[in-house]
Each structure stands twice: as structure tokens, then as C-alpha cells.
Symmetry: C3
Subunit: 485 residues, 3 copies
């Protein structure tokens, strides 16, 4: 292979991130330490002054600390972010390390920046100049990361770890701004984030991927697929996302019936998605065989699409219908839209985030608008309407029809932020300093990871070659070169 | 292989489910939408009228919504159903997709039908004609699916996805009826379902498998076993079942000490099962080697057997003894009873559900009967006896001895429903329209799944054959044939 | 290979555990039944007398049962012990069964013995002579196992299952004693166990491993490393540990703000560790590639190091700094300290527990001492200081400076117990009766497990050799030899 390989190597991009990756990690982590020092403090429910706070507010029991309302849901959301998204992205045969590992990196950085960005917009005390945080802040920070993780799904295998940190920095920033516009200025309701998380995150990733179009990605085609066990690993991700989606949508809804109803609606919608996904997947293949891509992804569409409406009185059959339709639409997306995008729009979407997040998120936003506009006092009760749509303060007089209009407008804002923001960030990511792989080098963990040598056939003791490099224990010359270099 | 293969193919059953699977999914899902529309509404604790309900019932804090008592346990149960049962069934070398995937399908359909069936029997408001649901309904729906998933364990690898949906429809129906008889008419206590879930589900699956006996199953023998990594995947299932079993048994027990005690007893019994399983497994093999089949399954027997008695005052040492004995019995079952069944009773039990569910479930039912009959007022307190056994209303005068008798009777009812119901459903499944595989074609994901080509040795870039079909991205002709056909 | 193999086999140690393993399991499990029968009862919150207890103590709602404060955290801790530690140890290419399986065995035995040992020291009622247990006891029992599981990390692949049970018996015993000295006599605070769990467990394992030094372990070098999929399995362990560490540290802290603040601090510290681990890992390798060993382990160091200080008012930026530094230190440990230990100290540490547990645990202990000594009434409030440091009873007059000193002393006690206890237990484990493997036979599941034959290339139907042994279904002669022998 001598000559050919050389020829390719010569034009191959420089994927050495030994300076840039540590530099970015250190700079950003040090910035976080400084900014946390200046801005972030505990809120009343997590501060050591809690006993005083309880007395002042006539709280009789520790169990009424918000921690006990939200911590179990928080942990479920946390599992979705790290194991759910992470393992869903292990499906590629040789990019499982990058799927789960860079997901981990993105989320661990993103949540710190999110605590700050969301804090400045939502929890900055004008008197003290401090942001106070509690368990709800942690949930929101995880949500905020979800936007960038969704975007990563479109880019999986085609970007360097430095690029992931760059688009996460901008992604979290954009998220905080669009969330402020949608939830505060437009006063939309979007507990599970159909609009602010899924539509935004999906279109953000698609726009970046469109700008980063790789005309010769076919050269990496041999690695852009799964093997048997990588598909089973991906099912770990799918199932943890599917099971905990009721917690995702209900994590920050109203205490009491609000959280309760949201969880029920999401549970029901997800069950419905599974059956229609199986139906369409079977219909689309020879002999009715199922495709793991559909089962891994489209079964989740019902959860995405219920992100806005789940806290409303959509009724159990309404939830079933939403799951029914989005399961179908999402599976059709994998069958037709992703190949169409790739062929005609020059848009390469590794995980098909268009079909799982962007489109169902948009549909979820509009579903929320319709359900909100159709709300009546007889169904919600007067107090129920006020609580559900937060018709208080300067929004006390808003009608449900108006609310529906604003919900629809909010969906458009999310999409616009995703598309425009993603296009701009894509341009930044094209600067040739980030160490991204060449077109024939994508979807390959070898580029950014020390990958263990495969030896399915383990040699017997005596034939064992002592020169073999043992990756886990023998940390020899190359490692010590930190000091030598 | 030309001629031989043709000869076999000619007699091979038609496993094309491209019409039947989508048809069944759509018909049943549409039926669910209609029935949910007619019958199912939110209960008082999840409805937007919650604030009114709180006032009427003098509930002072949102934290007393049943959601906060049960949602963490619900999510644990949910994980057991989808990841626990699902991954436990990935142990076969080439049926991991079918194990975790059809488990997903069964549960997603079953829980919808369970909400209706259990609702009609337990939560139908005679005035409005509506079923109201809350978090406890979701837990019960998951429990109800568990019965059919256990049955699937006996049939793993030998049935088509259409058949799984058929036996789930009947399984959930039978479950709801036997549950009504046992819990309501006989007034048994069975929080963790030793009787109604495990004994019923186990014998239901065994009876179906007996009717569907395949005399030439040996032809698929090469695939009826594990490989190294599939055994590790199965441990994911085992451990999530093992860890969350305390939540399973305590999920619907009484608020307060009831849930607390049930969780403790189950935790203790499970620990004991592990040690005796290891002991017997080691004793049974040459050189004392452990068998993964035992570790994956028999370690769970203590949880099954505590399903009834865990909420009683069985005492920690009582729980230890139950786990001790069932660990031994279950492991002996894998060693002797499953081979015996296969050889002499013509009963093929893929996962050995007899040893993990049917037998320990039955033993758990009788354990519950004995512990109930031995209850005394000094141990329980007067109020404790009333709460634990629900001696209220028309059962106010029942003695603990009588209760013990009814518990034993309930166990027999569960077994009878499983055996008779399973035999009848087995006959239905023999109708040759369901697309089940031939005897030499079992335990093989190729039959119902698009399986990625294995290429452990990934070819280098330049030698890569461009004609290779890429499963995940290139969705070409065969997929579009939905429209062409 | 005839002659050579014979030569080796002749000197090979006897790894037959068919007598010793079942014997130890049975003897110890029977001892547990007897001791539980004599000593262990339900506490007031899990006993059927709960309704009476509520009345006597003016508890108005079942939700104030400790179960609802701690059960979600308990389940998270439970997942860490069994899936977290278990899967983290599946990284070796051919010791995944031993990693996850013996972890299971250790924990299932250890928690029973821990309920007794911790009960005798902390919950023995002097009047009745009984230990009463509740959900907090279960959490503490899981914590106690963690010490022995950490020690197992240093010994992974080099000990027999009988040896794991022996060092667990002593490990749990030593743990209960050092915990009593540190928490009760010295009155330290150590909710997440930087000192009592991680420093103790880490040094305990290191001391045992030092005594059990194997000069010719290089003969097993071919198996002392990972393969691609085993590294992905290990990431399951890493992520569940990482995600649930906030629950680990907060599980037994004070109700209300105590649990809330501990969770927040741990969440923040862990995020910071990820970025500095990535930075150092990338810096240390050619071309900036990341090493899975670092990502799997050092990312967790922030959680270990926050085990003591997380419940204090360390402030979010303080938590970030702790995570920042320990991520760096732990990664450097993997790069330099483990190879140094192996080469110069004759200490073989399979999982590098020195870098993940021993060292960060010690640092966490001293961090706690400093943060405690720096506490002020203005930051904590008067009541907050009393609650956080439990300055009540005979410790009512202790100053924060004194407390800091005792915290530091406690750390030294934990280390001393680990080192001295481990050395003694190591001597016991050297007795040649435990069935440990020979130096050329380590890291190999074949020694203690029935391992399925690998057949990545599954033969076609007709060529299938009927004599092949099917492990999962065909339980033939060797199994029945229980009776024959």
C-alpha cells in the first residue's frame, strides 16, 4: 500500500489535537472557576441557612424542600444525558469511544456553562449580583446540554473533540438566549423542551452539518455502519431514553398534578410510537424485517413530540395519537428524508437527528400551540388554567387563543435560532485549526483515541510475543514524553 | 450448498411478516386510541382540578400527591421491564436483537391494553363510565406486562413478532381476570406478584411452549447458546432486575412503613440468593467453575419468592431463609429440571422461566400463605394487622388463618390460569398464519431483523469495495419498495 | 504444545474451588441466618407498629417516613455498587465475567455482614439487645461493601472467589471498626466517605496486593488489557458511577438543605474532573489521543474527593477547584504512579485504585479538614453550623478549628487501618488453600467460569457438527456429577 497511502497521507488533515484540546479544556475550565467564584451561590433551599428560611416561610417539614420534588426526576434526566444520548451514539462499528466519550465531554463542559448562562438570564439577583442555584438549576443545565448533544448527533464521527467544545460553547449560549425569548418574553410553556431543546438542537446540528458538508465522505463509508454488538450497545441508550422520558418532560413542571399528568402523558405517547415504528419499519423492508436504526430512534419520537403538550390536559387518547403519528413520521424520515437530504441538500446527518429531534420537536411545538388554544375552563378549572399556563402577573389577562399563537411563534423562534446560529457556528468550525479528520478518516476512533489492538484469537501462553504492547498497564515511553517534549 | 439448501428452503415455513406485523400493529394501536378516547381519563391527583381536590380533602402540601410516594419506584419498575427483562434475554449469541427488541414491543403494547383491562376491573367509575389513571395505574400496567414478558422467556427465539403480540393480548387479558379473582374476590395480598405475576406468567409461558413443542429444535442448536459478550450483556439485565427488585415488590404497598419494610425484606432475600446460587453452581461443575446461566438467573429467585411475603412481618432472618432456599432450588432447576422437561415432557424452555419464575413464584405464594397465617397482633399491632392485610369493609372479620388459606388458594388460581390459558393460547399460536420460524431457523435474528454484516476485520481504505451495502446510511431500493409494491 | 504445556501444568497451582467455594458460601450464609435471627429487627419506620409510632411522635403524614427522604438515593447507590463498580471492572478482555460476577458476590455477602457489624457499633439497643434497621442501614451497608469492592479493584484477576469472600469478611469488619472510631469517637463528618470508604478501601487493597506480589505476572500480560467492546462495557460502569455520585455523597446527609447542597457540590466537582482528565490524557499521548483508562477512571476523582466536604459550604467554585485538581492528580497517577509502584514498590494495582480511590480519598479527607476549619457563623448561620457539624451533646462546645484537626486525624486513621489491616489480611490470603491462579493464569475467566466457546463465524446449518457442546441448554454429564461424585 506504500505509495497510495503516502499520497493520501500527504493531503490528510492534521488531526493532532495535543496542543489544542488540552489548551481549550484548561482555558475554559479555569474560566469556569473564576466565573463560578464571582457569580454562583447556593439558593435558599440548599444553603446552610435553610432552618432560618423554613421558619420565615412557615415550612413545617424538610420534605417540602424542592430537592424531594425534583431530585428523582433530575437523576433520570442525568442518566438520559450521559447514558441515554451517550450509548445511543455507540452504534457505529468503530466510533463507540467517540460516541460515548465525546458525549461525556460535551455534557460535562456544557452543564457548567449552562449554569452560568441560564443563571444570568433567569436567576441573577439584582441586589447581590449573584446567581443562586438549586436542583432545578441542575435539571435546566442538563436540558441545556441536550441541545448541543442533539447537534452532536448530526456531526458524529466528522468532528474533532475541540470542535465539539466549540459548538457546545456557542450552542449553550444560543440556547440560553432563545430560551429566554421563548419562555420569558413570549411567555410560552415548554416543560419538556419540544421547542427550546429538540427543535433548536436538531436544526442547530443540521445547519452546522450543512456548512461542514464533506463531498467525499463516501471514502469513510466502510466505517459508517454498525456491527451486531454495537447495535446492542445502542439499545442501552435507546431504552434509557425511552424509559426516563416521562421524567424528562415532567422534571420542571408544577409540583403535584402538573408533574403527575406530564409523566402519564409521556408514558402513553411513547408506548404508541413503538408500535407504529415497528409497523412502518416492517412495511419498508423485504420480508418484513425490522431495521435497528428505526427501533433505536423513531420509537422515541413520541417523547420528543410531547415535550410541550404533556403538561396540558391533552388527555390520554390525545397522547396516544401524538405518539402514533410521530412514530410514523419519524420512521418515514429515516427511510426517505435523510437519504434525500444527503443526495439533494448536501446535508449529512449521521444519527438522523432531523427525524428524531428537529421534525418531531417542531411538530411538538405546534401540537402544544393547538392544545393550548383549545383549553377550556371546564376541563382545567379556573385555577388549573392559571397554574398550567402561568397566567399571572403581567400575563394574567392572556387568553388561551393568544397563548396558542405565542406557542406557535415560539416554535418558529427556536427553529430560526437553530438554523441561523448553526450556520454561523458552522463557518467558525470550518477554520482549519480544529484538527478535524479528513473525509476518508471519519467515523474512526483511531484518530482521537488509543484503541486497543484487537486479538479475538488470544494466543496461547507460550507463543505469546513479549513485545506486544499492553495498553492498560505498561505505560512506557510515549506517555512520559509529556516531560520530554 | 446449492441442492441441500433448496431442499430445506422448500419445506421452510414462510417467515415473511411484512403484511401481518404492520397490520396487527396498526389495528391494535388504532383500537387503543379509540378505547382510550372512550374510557380513560386522569385521576384526581393528576387532573388540572388538583387544587380543588386538595382543598376538598384538606391536603396541605403538593408532596402528598401519590406521585411523590410512588414515582421513584415506578421508574425502577420501568427499568426492570425494559432493560431488566430485555437485556436478560440478550444472552443468545444471535438473538440479542430479538431478545431486547421484541421485549420492547411486547411491553409497549401490553401496557396500553393493561391500562384498559385493569381499569375495567379496578377503576371504572360506575357513574361516568370512565377509568381514571394515575401513577399506580402505570405501575400496575408494567406489572401486567411482566406476566407476558416472563412467558416470552420460555418462547425466546421460537416465535414470530406477530405471535408475541397475540400471546401478549391474551396474556394481559388473562392476567387482569386472575388478578381480579385473586386480589378482589379472594382478597389476597400480593404486592410483588409472586402469584399473580410470576407463577401465572411462568406457567402461562410453559404451557404455550408445551403446545408449540418443536421436535427438531436440535437443528437450531448451534445458535442456542451464548458467546462471551452476549453473556456480559445479559448481566446488565440481571443486575438491573436484582437491584430494583426491592422497588418492584414495594411499588404498590402501603405508604410509609409498608413500602419501607417491603424494600428491606426484598433486599435481604436477594443477597442470600446470590450466595447459595454461587455455592450450588460451583458444586455442580468440574473444578468448581461457575456457570453464567445460574448467576444470570437463579440469583434473582429470592426476589420472586418474596413477592407476596415481603410486606408482611417476615423478619429479616425470614427473608434470608427464603432467599437461601430459593437460590438453591432455582439453581437445581437449571441443572436438572429444564433438561428433564425437555427430554421427558417435551417442553422447551429457552430461558428456564420454570426455575426463575414459575417455581419460585409458586413457593412465594405458599410462603405468603404461611407467613400470613402465622401473623399475631403482638407482632403487627392491631392497626398494623388491619393495614397489612386490609381487613376492612366486608373482610373486617377475617382471621389471619383464613387469610392464609385464601393466599394458598390464590396461588392455585394463578397456576391454573397460567396452565389452562397458556394451553388455549398455544393452540391459537399453532395456526400457520403467524410467520413463525422453522425448527432449523430458530434463535436467529436474520429471520426478523436486518442484521449488519459482520466485518471484524475492517478492510483498509483503498481496498474497500464500494459496492458493499451500508445498512445505516444508504437506504436504497429495497426500502423504497414500500411504494413500488 | 504437548510437552511444554505439561511442564507448566505440573507446577500450576490448584484452582479447583469445588469444595472451598460452596463450603465458604454455605457456612457464611448459614451464619448470617442465625445472627440475623438473633439480632436484627425492623426499626420504627419500617415496623408494622408505624401507625402507633406516628401518633406518639406527632408525625402527620406518611411522607415523613425516612423512606421517602432516602430511598431514591439508596437505589442510586445500589446501582453504583452493582452496575457501577461491576461494569467498571469488565474492561479486561477476558475477565469480564470475573469483574462483574465476583463484584456481585462480594457485595451480596458484604452487605449482610455489614448490616450486622455496623448494627453492633451504631444501632444496638442496649435494652433489647437487638439491632434495628431501616433504609439508612441499607445505604450504610452498601457503603461498607464499597470499601471491599475498591480493594477488589487492586486485586482484579489475581485472586480466587474464595479469597474475595475472605478479604470481604475482614474488610467489612475493619471498615465497621474504623468507621466507629472516625465518626463516633473522633466525631468526624464524612457523609460520602472520602476517608472511611475511599482512603480506607484503596489502601486496604493496595496493602493486600503488595503482600500478594506476583513476580512473574508478566506471564499473564497478554490478557491484562482491554479489547474494543470491553472498553465500551467499562464505560457503562464509569457513567453510572459518575451520574449517581451526587446521590452517593448525599444519601445519608441531613434532610433538607444538607442533602440538597451535597448533591449540587458533587455534581459540579465531577464536571470539572472530566475536563482536566481529558486535558492531561491528551497531553500525555502522541498526537493528543485520549486513553480510555483515564476517561474510565480519573473522571470520577472529583466525586471521591468531595466525599467529606460536599456537605459543607465549600461553595460551587470550591467544588470546581477540587474537581479540577483531582482530575489532574488522578490522571498523573495513572501515567506515572502505577508504573512506578509496579516497578519499584512491587505493587500490582490492576484497576489503579491508588489513583482513583486511595489518593483522591486522602486528599478529600484533608480538603474536608480545611473546609471545616474555615467555617464561619456568617456563612453557615449558628443553627447551620450546629447541624452541619453535629455540634450537639458532648460535642456542643467544639470549635470549627478543633473539628478540622479531628477531620485530618480521621483521615490518618482510615489510611492506617487500610495499610495495617490490608497487610495482615494479605498474609492470610497467602496461605495456599484458597485456590488462587498461577502467575501465568491470571486475568483469565477460564479458571473460574464455564466460558462459552467463541464462534464468531457461525457454521451454516448443514455443516454443523452435532457433537458441539451447547452450554446453555444441554446440561449433560458434568453437571449431573454432583450426584455421582
Amino acid at each position: 500500500m506504500g505509495n497510495c497511502c503516502e499520497a493520501i497521507c500527504n493531503v490528510r488533515k492534521n488531526t493532532n489535537v495535543r496542543v489544542s484540546l488540552p489548551a481549550v479544556c484548561f482555558v475554559w475550565q479555569i474560566a469556569m472557576v473564576i466565573l463560578f467564584g464571582v457569580f454562583i451561590r447556593y439558593d435558599d433551599e440548599s444553603d446552610a441557612h435553610w432552618e432560618e428560611f423554613k421558619e420565615e416561610n412557615n415550612i413545617t417539614s424538610d420534605i417540602e424542600n424542592d430537592f424531594y420534588f425534583r431530585y428523582p426526576s433530575f437523576q433520570d434526566v442525568h442518566v438520559m444525558i450521559f447514558v441515554g444520548f451517550g450509548f445511543l451514539m455507540t452504534f457505529l462499528k468503530r466510533y463507540s469511544f467517540g460516541g460515548v466519550g465525546f458525549n461525556f465531554l460535551i455534557a460535562a463542559f456544557g452543564l457548567q456553562w449552562a449554569l452560568l448562562m441560564q443563571g444570568w438570564f433567569h436567576a441573577l439577583d439584582p441586589n447581590t449580583g449573584k446567581i443562586t442555584i438549586g436542583v432545578e438549576s441542575l435539571i435546566n443545565a442538563d436540558f441545556c446540554c441536550a441541545g448541543s448533544l442533539i447537534a452532536y448527533g448530526a456531526l458524529l464521527g466528522k468532528v474533532s473533540p475541540v470542535q465539539t467544545l466549540v459548538f457546545t460553547l456557542f450552542g449553550v449560549t444560543l440556547f440560553a438566549v432563545e430560551e429566554y425569548i421563548i419562555l420569558d418574553l413570549l411567555h410560552c410553556r415548554d416543560a419538556g423542551g419540544s421547542m427550546v431543546i429538540h427543535a433548536f438542537g436538531g436544526y442547530y446540528g443540521l445547519a452546522i452539518s450543512w456548512v461542514l458538508y464533506r463531498p467525499k465522505l463516501d471514502l469513510s463509508r466502510r466505517l459508517n455502519g454498525s456491527v451486531y454488538h454495537s447495535d446492542v450497545f445502542a439499545m442501552i441508550g435507546t431504552l434509557f431514553l425511552w424509559m426516563f422520558w416521562p421524567s424528562f418532560n415532567s422534571a420542571i413542571t408544577d409540583h403535584g398534578a402538573g408533574q403527575h399528568r406530564t409523566a402519564i402523558n409521556t408514558y402513553i405517547a411513547l408506548a404508541s410510537s413503538v408500535l407504529t415504528t415497528v409497523a412502518i419499519s416492517s412495511l419498508s423492508q423485504k420480508r418484513g424485517k425490522l431495521d435497528m436504526v428505526h427501533i433505536q430512534n423513531a420509537t422515541l419520537a413520541g417523547g420528543v413530540a410531547m415535550g410541550t403538550a404533556a403538561e396540558f390536559m391533552i388527555m390520554p387518547y390525545g397522547a396516544l395519537i401524538v405518539g402514533f403519528l410521530t412514530g410514523i413520521i419519524s420512521t418515514f424520515g429515516y427511510l426517505f428524508v435523510t437519504p434525500f437530504f444527503e443526495k439533494y441538500l448536501k446535508l449529512q446527518d449521521t444519527c438522523g437527528v432531523h427525524n428524531l429531534h428537529a421534525l418531531p420537536g417542531m411538530l411538538g411545538g405546534f401540537t402544544g400551540a393547538i392544545v393550548a388554544a383549545a383549553a377550556t375552563e371546564s376541563v382545567y378549572s379556573q385555577q388549573g388554567l392559571i397554574d398550567t399556563f402561568d397566567f399571572e402577573g403581567k400575563f394574567a389577562g392572556r387568553s388561551v387563543g393568544t397563548q396558542g399563537g405565542f406557542q406557535a411563534a415560539g416554535t418558529c423562534v427556536a427553529i430560526a435560532f437553530g438554523l441561523v446560529g448553526g450556520a454561523l457556528v458552522g463557518v467558525i468550525l470550518r477554520i482549519p485549526i480544529w484538527g478535524d479528520p479528513a473525509d476518508d478518516n471519519c467515523f474512526d476512533d483511531e484518530v482521537y483515541w488509543e484503541v486497543p489492538e484487537e486479538e479475538e484469537s488470544i494466543p496461547p501462553v507460550l507463543e505469546y510475543n513479549n513485545h506486544m504492547i499492553n495498553k492498560h498497564q505498561d505505560l512506557s515511553e510515549s506517555n512520559f514524553s509529556v516531560e520530554q517534549s
